[in-house]
């Protein structure tokens, strides 16, 4: 059975926890990327205001802090997931879903031009991560 778990957890709960990990990870990535887009090229900021100025610009962004909070939520939900679901399913499934989710979210929220080449990249990486973690 694919839903091999440490304790008796049904498929619904298994996938609910895996999807929670993926959704919070996507939120973290998109919020962080959005914040960095707003802040601007860090190389330019560092050239103007030094490393301290670049760090200040990043950590004073509420969107960045929200992104880090989402990443932390994703980390803790992954810990919760692997304590209930077999890691051989939880880790590759959540990582693969995160890659696909990021492609959709980047297109919708960041208005990135996700062309055919990038969709193929997301699908290949998603499948590759799944196989690699098996």
């Amino acid at each position: 059975m694919i839903y091999a778990s440490h304790i008796d957890v049904g498929p619904l709960e298994t996938w609910a926890t895996i999807i929670t990990v993926a959704v919070t990870a996507v939120a973290g990535d998109v919020l962080t990327a959005g914040a960095m887009r707003k802040i601007g090229d860090l190389d330019v900021i560092r050239a103007k205001s030094g490393l301290g100025g670049a760090i200040r610009a990043v950590v004073s962004s509420p969107m960045f802090l929200l992104g880090v909070l989402s990443m932390a939520a994703s980390f803790f939900s992954l810990l919760f997931t692997v304590s209930n679901v077999a890691v051989s399913l939880a880790a590759p499934a959540s990582a693969s879903l995160t890659f696909l989710g990021n492609a959709f979210a980047a297109k919708i929220f960041l208005k990135e031009n996700v062309d055919r080449r990038r969709w193929f990249a997301a699908l290949f990486v998603c499948a590759g991560v799944f196989l690699l973690a098996k």
């Binding site: 990535d29 090229d41 860090l42 208005k111 996700v114 590759g128």
Partner: protein, 150 residues
């Protein structure tokens, strides 16, 4: 979209790929030396901070986050993410040649797929060019004006 990668920016992407995988491997190596940490013995985590592999791993992961944020400031998320996935390939090679682990055929297939995925975006444009807000407003005004003339 435009292609804006200078050799220095390729180095940042290389750092994104290498620091995460090397950091994870160093942490794993260090934690096997420290031993299992349980909720009853959380003090072991402080002890782990004295292990040079763990310290090196944490420094590498800090380097990863810094280079990842730098890359996101001049490239799209959908361009940078496949690069981070390439780290999985580096981890597999480190596991094989450093930790002497066996890599199954399935994992080699996974490595091949990730390499192909990274190859798809590596030669493409790195950033979606959005028109500045003022240009967008001007083009909207223009279309309204054109619509009005019709």
């Amino acid at each position: 979209m435009k292609h804006t990668l200078t050799p220095q920016r390729y180095l940042i992407l290389l750092a994104v790929m290498l620091t995460a995988s090397v950091g994870d491997t160093m942490l794993a190596h260090g934690m096997t030396q420290v031993g299992p940490v349980s909720m009853a013995h959380l003090g072991l985590l402080l002890h782990a901070m004295r292990n040079p592999w763990v310290v090196g791993g944490i420094l590498c992961l800090l380097g990863f986050f810094a280079s990842y944020l730098t890359a996101l400031s001049w490239a799209d998320l959908t361009f940078v993410l496949p690069s981070t996935a390439f780290g999985y390939v580096v981890v597999a090679f480190l596991a094989k040649y450093w930790q002497h682990e066996t890599i199954s055929l399935t994992r080699w297939a996974g490595i091949l797929l990730i390499v192909c995925g990274v190859g798809f975006v590596a030669n493409g444009p790195s950033l979606t060019e959005h028109p500045p807000a003022s240009d967008e407003a001007a083009s909207t005004d223009e279309s309204v004006a054109t619509g009005g003339a019709r």
